[in-house]
Symmetry: C2
Subunit: 260 residues, 2 copies
C-alpha cells in the first residue's frame, strides 16, 4: 500500500518559574529556515520511538535535566501543509514543567537556549519560528487551566515545598493574588498533598532539591526558592505530593475569570 510520506517531529513547551516569573524555554535556531529566530526545542521522531519517548529524549538533550525531573504531557498535533517550507511535517507538541533549570545550554543545531517570560510572548512582542506562537499559546492555556483541576502546580516546586511556595506558583501563573488562609486549607484538605515526614522536614540536606536544581542562576540571585525559605516568620512545614505523580483534584481550585 502506498501512502504520502511525512516527517514527524515533537516540539516541547517547557515551563518553569524563575525570579517569580512564568518562563518558557526557547532555543535560538542555528540553521535555516528561521535562522536566528526563537523556537521551541524539538526534533524528529526516530523510527522506533514512541512519541512520548521522543519528547523525553529531546527534552533531556536540550536541557541536560535528568530523566524524570520534569512532568511531560502531550498537547496536540499540528499539521498545516505550509507549516514547514522544507517538507510536509506533522509535529506533535508537548508541554512540560520543571522546578528549575540549570544554566540553559545550547545543544545540536541550537545556537543557544533562553528562558523567556511567557508574558513577552503573549503580548505579541516575540515572533517565533514556524507555527510555534500558536503552540505556545495553546500550551499556556493548557497549563493555566490545568492548575485548576490537577496537581501540576507542584511540579514547579522541589519535591518538598511549603504552602507559600505552592501558592506563589498559582499567583505567578494566574497573575492573581490568592488568600493565604484559604489556600492553606486547600493544601491541607484537598487530599492531594501530605506533610513531608518529620525527618525530611528537619534535615535540610534530605529536604533540599536535587543537585542540578540547587545552582542559582548567578545573575538572578533572588530565586523563588528564597521566597519559600524566609528568614523571618514562622518556619514553614513542608508538603509533598501524595503518591508521587500529579493527578486530578477532587474539587477544582477556581480562579476568577478575567485574570491574565
Amino acid at each position: 500500500m502506498d501512502y504520502p510520506p511525512f516527517a514527524v517531529t515533537v516540539d516541547i513547551a517547557l515551563f518553569t518559574i524563575q525570579d517569580e516569573t512564568f518562563k518558557i524555554l526557547l532555543i535560538e535556531r542555528g540553521g535555516d529556515p528561521y535562522r536566528g529566530d526563537l523556537a521551541l526545542p524539538g526534533g524528529f521522531v526516530l523510527p522506533d520511538e514512541d512519541l512520548d519517548m521522543a519528547a523525553a529524549r529531546e527534552l533531556e538533550e536540550e536541557t541536560g535535566l535528568a530523566d524524570g525531573a520534569w512532568h511531560l504531557e502531550q498537547l496536540a498535533a499540528y499539521g498545516d501543509p505550509a507549516r514547514d517550507p522544507r517538507m510536509r511535517t506533522v509535529t506533535v507538541a508537548f508541554w512540560a514543567i520543571t522546578a528549575d533549570l540549570p544554566r540553559p545550554r545550547g545543544g545540536g543545531d541550537a545556537a543557544a537556549a533562553h528562558l523567556v517570560p511567557v508574558a513577552r510572548i503573549e503580548s505579541g512582542g516575540l515572533r517565533l519560528a514556524f507555527d510555534h506562537n500558536r503552540i505556545v499559546d495553546d500550551a499556556v492555556k493548557e497549563v493555566r487551566s490545568g492548575l485548576e483541576t490537577t496537581t501540576i502546580a507542584a511540579q514547579f516546586c522541589p519535591p518538598a515545598f511549603t504552602v507559600a511556595r505552592l501558592r506563589k506558583v498559582y499567583e505567578t501563573i494566574w497573575n492573581t493574588p490568592l488568600d493565604p488562609g484559604n489556600f492553606q486549607r486547600f493544601v491541607r484538605d484537598s487530599g492531594a498533598f501530605t506533610p513531608a515526614a518529620a525527618a525530611e522536614r528537619m534535615d535540610p540536606v534530605k529536604a533540599a532539591a536535587p543537585s542540578f536544581l540547587s545552582e542559582p542562576s548567578d545573575d538572578h540571585p533572588e530565586t523563588l526558592e528564597a521566597a519559600g525559605q524566609s528568614r523571618r516568620g514562622r518556619p514553614a512545614s513542608r508538603w509533598v505530593l501524595r503518591e508521587g505523580g500529579p493527578r486530578l483534584l477532587a474539587r477544582p481550585l477556581r480562579r476568577k475569570a478575567g485574570d491574565a
Copy 2:
C-alpha cells in the same frame, strides 16, 4: 535533510445518541490487517491537507453527512511504533458529535458501518483493531468531561431543541438522572442558549431537523427525537445555541463523582 518517513492518518470517534443510547460509529474492516474487526473510521492524510480537513473529509466519506452537520475536535496523536504492523504510522485522533445519522453505509474498503453502544466497548466486550480501544476510551472521557464545561451536548440535538431533549443527552451520556427543574434554570440562565424565534417555534417545517436527520431507523422507531416532542403535556418551547457554535460555559454543570 533526511528524516524517517511516516504514514500519517486520522481516525474519528463519531458519537451520537440513538434509541436513548450513547453510540459510536465503527466500521468493519474489509482488508488486512484486522480484517473483519471493528475499527474507527479514518484514513491517510493527503499531501496538501491540514489535519482537520482530512478528518472532515473522512467523516463525510464514511457517513454521507453534509459538511458542517457535525462538531469535530482533535483528541490526540498516537504513535506507538508497533501500532500498525504494516508500517510506521502516527494517527491523529479526533472526536466528533452529530445529532443523528442516516442509515450507516459502508464506503471504500470499509465492509460495513455500525452504530455500537459505547457501553459495549467500555465493558471490554469488544476488541477493536489497532489501538482503537484506547482511542475510544480517551474520546469518551473527553466527551463526558466536555459536557460539564462546554455546550457540546447541544450538538447531539437538532438545531432547535427542547430543554427535555438536552437534559436527556446529559442523562444518557453521564448515565445519571438530573433534576428537571434545576436543569431548566441551567438552560435559561447559563447564557449559552437562547429561545428559538417565535416563527421558528411555530413553523414545524423551519424548526425541523435537516432532511438527512429526519429518517428514523426503521428497526428502531423510538428515537430520542420522540422524547423531545411529547404528545402529552405542555408544548415545549425550543432553544438554540447562542451564536451558532459550541463554546465554554461560564459555570460548569457539575456531575456527581461516581457516575458511569
